[in-house]
Amino acid sequence: MNAVLDNLDLVVRAFSYTVLLFLIAGVLSLVFGTLLAAFRVGPVAVLSRATAVYVTTIRNTPLIIILIFFRIAGPKIGISFNFVDIQVGEIRLNNLFAACVIGLSVYTSTFVCEAIRSGVNAVPLGQAEAARAIGLPFAGVMTEVVLPQAFRATVPPLASVQIALLKNTTVAGALGVFEAFARMKSLTNDNATQRIGIFLTFAVIFVVLVELVSFAANRIERRWRIAR
């Protein structure tokens, strides 16, 4: 325990990185995933098929491979994020951080897409037909009628996807971001006698973070609940 308390500033910084990875990749994956879902259920056959192939490919690729692509293969073929260099106090968001955020977003957005698609499928077909009958274009049908209902049905699976994302951020610890997992390894290496205590502390903090996400999801679910 002492090792954690003595290095409290480092631990706090590590979890800040974890939370930042989660928040930025979370928002990006929601936006990008929604877009993918719209393509996937949209009326343009080419777009729908192409998205299906893309989602299947990314979703079936292990996260570490996607991250390694953006971190190691990317710079070799000219995809680098060297323009990213933001310093906020002790927190430093650099090219490595950006590559990991993009990797996590790309990976998670495919799961978001599939979760939203399941929500869209849960909206009775009559709703979309009725919307079309009153003359709404596809975009209108989606944004005004289908997606609002779909999102409600999607909150629980989306929460699961985001919780998975929070835990997946630890992979970035092996790829250049000094987040919680990397800091834990440093502390256990340094304090061989306090290994179990350090591990449990980090595990408990992760449980707390995940609980916070679940709690938020529950509140949103309750707020958006409608009588059907």
């Binding site: 790829l175 250049g176 390894k185 061989a192």
Partner: protein, 300 residues
């Protein structure tokens, strides 16, 4: 139909031939440079006192040694070889041979011990000895036995060949890559640079090569190995800014091993086997053979 069958048989024959050839290729692997031939010594009846760990190991004729697999020059194993190579491994061979066990045989299991595994594996008895670039620290000595050092090393920087970076001072506030959870990474942070953790040192070298980070840092000997692998693209710069004392790890349940390990090391210092091991493994990368370091006293 008949033709198909003939083809099938020919295919099998070709596959068989390929297998024989590849086996033959494996047989040659032992002659590679970077390894010294160490022969098992004859163990006399009462060389080791009965009941000691050494006597038990010599009796069983089998030993498990924990080494690193990913540090060129110290402990490195590529996909095609059976036995890892490097300075740690050479020192381990000397210890194994002293027990009367053939170092290059199946009687020795070379278990990979990543940094996190070293103490747990010794405590559980999963490995008998650890020679895995194992820095001696007081903290570690509370839970495992460590003796030596058989090697002194310090941290330097590895940068692109055309880089202006001259020392760690130039890297204040900049990213420096090192392995996740390693002592090197902490020394980098202590020196004022920003640590960028990576899974392995070769991944760090890759990051330096493609410009994702400007420098990486760990023990100079490892950096020399990486620079040799990427000749003309990477270079080692700067003074050593930390000191690591690399020693042998053993379990606290077998404290008698300490005197034995020190004895074998002293013998290797005197006979020149230590220098020979150094020249075979770290020499080609450009390191000069130093004086053997003084050994710590064993705890009474």
């Amino acid at each position: 139909m008949r033709m198909f069958r003939t083809w099938k048989r020919t295919g099998a024959a070709i596959a068989g031939l390929g297998l024989v050839l590849s086996l033959a290729a494996c047989g040659d692997a032992g002659d590679d440079t970077g390894a010294v031939d160490v022969e098992a010594e004859e163990v006399e009846e009462d060389k080791f006192e009965a009941g000691t760990a050494m006597a038990e190991l010599a009796e069983a004729g089998e030993i498990t040694v924990g080494v690193k697999y990913d540090q060129p020059g110290l402990g490195f194993k590529d996909a095609s070889s059976d036995i890892p190579t490097g300075f740690d491994v050479e020192i381990a061979k000397l210890l194994v041979a002293d027990l009367g066990i053939e170092p290059e045989s199946d009687s020795v299991t070379w278990e990979e011990t990543i940094s996190d595994n070293r103490e747990p594996y010794l405590e559980e008895g999963r490995v008998d000895l650890v020679l895995a670039s194992y820095s001696i620290t007081d903290e570690r000595r509370q839970i495992v036995g460590q003796t030596g050092p058989y090697f002194l090393t310090g941290q330097q920087l590895l940068v692109a060949a055309d880089s202006d970076i001259a020392s760690i001072e130039d890297m204040k506030g900049e990213e420096v890559c090192s392995a996740t959870g390693s002592t090197s990474l902490e020394n980098v942070e202590a020196a004022g640079a920003v640590g960028a953790p990576a899974d392995t040192y070769s991944q760090c070298a890759e990051d330096v090569l493609n410009g994702s980070v400007d420098a990486m840092s760990t023990d100079g000997s490892i950096l020399l190995g990486l620079a040799a692998q990427n000749e003309g693209e990477l270079k080692v710069v700067g003074e050593e800014f930390s000191e690591e004392r690399i020693g042998v790890g053993y379990s606290l349940e077998t404290p008698e091993m300490c005197e034995w390990i020190n004895g074998v090391l002293t013998e290797a210092y005197d006979s020149g086997a230590w220098a020979e091991a150094f020249e075979a493994t770290l020499g080609p990368a450009g390191a000069e053979t130093p004086e053997p370091p003084a050994l710590d006293e064993c705890p009474a």
